[in-house]
């Protein structure tokens, strides 16, 4: 029941998007997100939609998998669309009792939903093409200029890497504890809410104890190997910005410049 959780949606591959530097991917994603919110002309949405579809095809992530990433927000999107359809005055499309659904409302709602959907697709393209460890490395590197004002970039990244490494271990351990308690007669599968929640106690207390113990063991193991923070530490895989990253960056700059011109000229 608990062992089939995979953290991360990383989809291994060798596409253009997979080979890009994760730092560049995160920075460009930010630029795009800001772009989607700043340029609210219909044509700009056309451009962004086309670009997102193009990126999705380039990444070779199966489109069905990508489409699933919108599932959690499905309700919010439908709700937004409906609210706009009946809340905006204009030419009526159809009626349901007292609610009037208008064409203008539909267009407005559709644009806002499209904006949100693009945001989600772009962010999930990042997670589909970048492994979690690459992401934490990228974050460390992006935050390191802030070290001089006291942002502990290395510590943050180290905590994240350790957390990612331990999620499967802790889940496995939870499973083991549950089986151990079940063999001693604890019943997790039936009873009312209160009973079920109180059956969490014999799972979680041992889990926390073992988490504390693990933390201690790991700290000792790291100290024994002379770990002393990020100062002067080298890494096995250096992140490198390569020609293809500059290419992607240039494309984004050209796209954004074109959109700025379109916005100013009012095309």
């Amino acid at each position: 029941m608990l062992t089939d959780i995979t953290l991360g949606q990383y989809f291994p591959g060798t596409s253009f998007l997979h080979r890009m530097d994760p730092r560049m991917k995160i920075s460009l994603l930010f630029v795009w997100i800001v772009g989607i919110f700043v340029f609210d002309m219909p044509k700009a949405y056309g451009v962004f939609t086309a670009a997102t579809v193009l990126l999705a095809i380039i990444s070779r992530v199966p489109l069905l998998t990508l489409a699933k990433s919108i599932k959690p927000l499905w309700m919010i999107l439908v709700f937004t669309l409906l609210i706009h359809m009946c809340g905006t005055p204009g030419e009526a499309l159809f009626h349901i009792s007292v609610f009037e659904f208008t064409k203008e409302g539909f267009m407005q709602g559709f644009v806002i939903c499209l904006r949100l959907a693009l945001l989600i697709f772009l962010s999930s393209l990042l997670t589909f093409t970048t492994s979690p460890l690459e992401l934490t490395d990228a974050m460390e590197s992006l935050l390191s200029p802030l070290k001089c004002i006291g942002v502990p970039a290395h510590e943050l990244a180290m905590m994240m890497s350790i957390a990612l490494r331990f999620v499967p271990t802790l889940i496995e351990e939870t499973d083991k504890i549950m089986k151990a308690q079940q063999s001693r007669g604890v019943n997790f599968e039936s009873g009312n809410v209160i009973k079920r929640l109180s059956s969490l106690v014999p799972i979680l207390v041992p889990l926390f104890i073992s988490a504390f113990r693990r933390a201690d063991e790991l700290a000792m193991a790291m100290e024994a190997r002379c770990y002393r923070g990020g100062e002067g530490r080298t890494r096995m895989k250096e992140l490198k910005v390569r020609a293809l990253d500059y290419g992607a960056c240039a494309c984004t700059v050209v796209l954004m410049a074109a959109l700025v011109v379109m916005k100013v000229e009012g095309i």
Binding site: I162, A163, T174, F208
Partner: protein
């Protein structure tokens, strides 16, 4: 956060992992589904204290924001614009509050910790509801009234969340007796932990 000791740092990291795992553990109860995320952030504050607890939850939120899908519905920088992101911000403050207040209690009991948790829950709601209201009205342009937000995202959630608070209080009391409890400015040597 700068002066975290190595073992404090690792303890935080393990709690980040626990919170992340908690967002995926779903307990079906009737027609409702509980995720344990909220309970784990409560416990992070209670067991680790204000400094480590808030750090752990903060790192969890940051991990989700840079794109690792650890939140209940994915992750990524775009999550900031989702109406439910305010709850995650609330979790950070709540972990700090629970850690701070529980260390000031004269006597740690189920009742007193439950009160602390309910205070934490109020903080989470405050952040969650105001974020929901602002994002719905100004970002996705779906005008919802304040009352609607309070009813659907607040009042209807109170009962399950209160149950999680109770469970967290119960677990925290047990953990305290088992020695899994970080006092202020001191990290317990693990060999003193009694077997539960």
């Amino acid at each position: 956060m700068k002066n975290l000791e190595l073992r404090e740092m690792i303890l935080c990291a393990l709690f980040v992992a626990l919170v992340a795992a908690g967002a995926f553990i779903r307990i079906p109860v009737g027609s409702d589904v509980f995720t344990l995320q909220f309970m784990f952030t409560l416990l992070a504050g209670l067991l680790l204290g204000r400094r480590l607890g808030a750090t752990a939850v903060f790192v969890y939120v940051l991990l989700g924001l840079i794109g690792v899908p650890v939140f209940a519905s994915g992750g990524g920088p775009g999550y900031v614009l989702q109406p439910t992101f305010g709850y995650l911000l609330g979790f950070i403050v709540q972990a700090w509050f629970c850690g701070w207040y529980s260390r000031r209690l004269k006597e740690i009991s189920m009742k007193s910790l439950l009160l602390v948790n309910v205070g934490g829950m109020a903080i989470v709601y405050l952040f969650g509801l105001s974020w929901f209201y602002v994002i719905s009205n100004y970002v996705i342009d779906a005008p919802v009234s304040l009352w609607w937000v309070v009813l659907y995202c607040g009042i209807l959630q109170v009962v399950p969340d209160f149950l999680l608070c109770t469970a967290a209080a119960g677990i925290a009391v047990k953990c305290k007796t088992a020695g899994v409890w970080v006092e202020n400015k001191e990290i317990r040597n693990i060999y003193n932990v009694k077997e539960a």
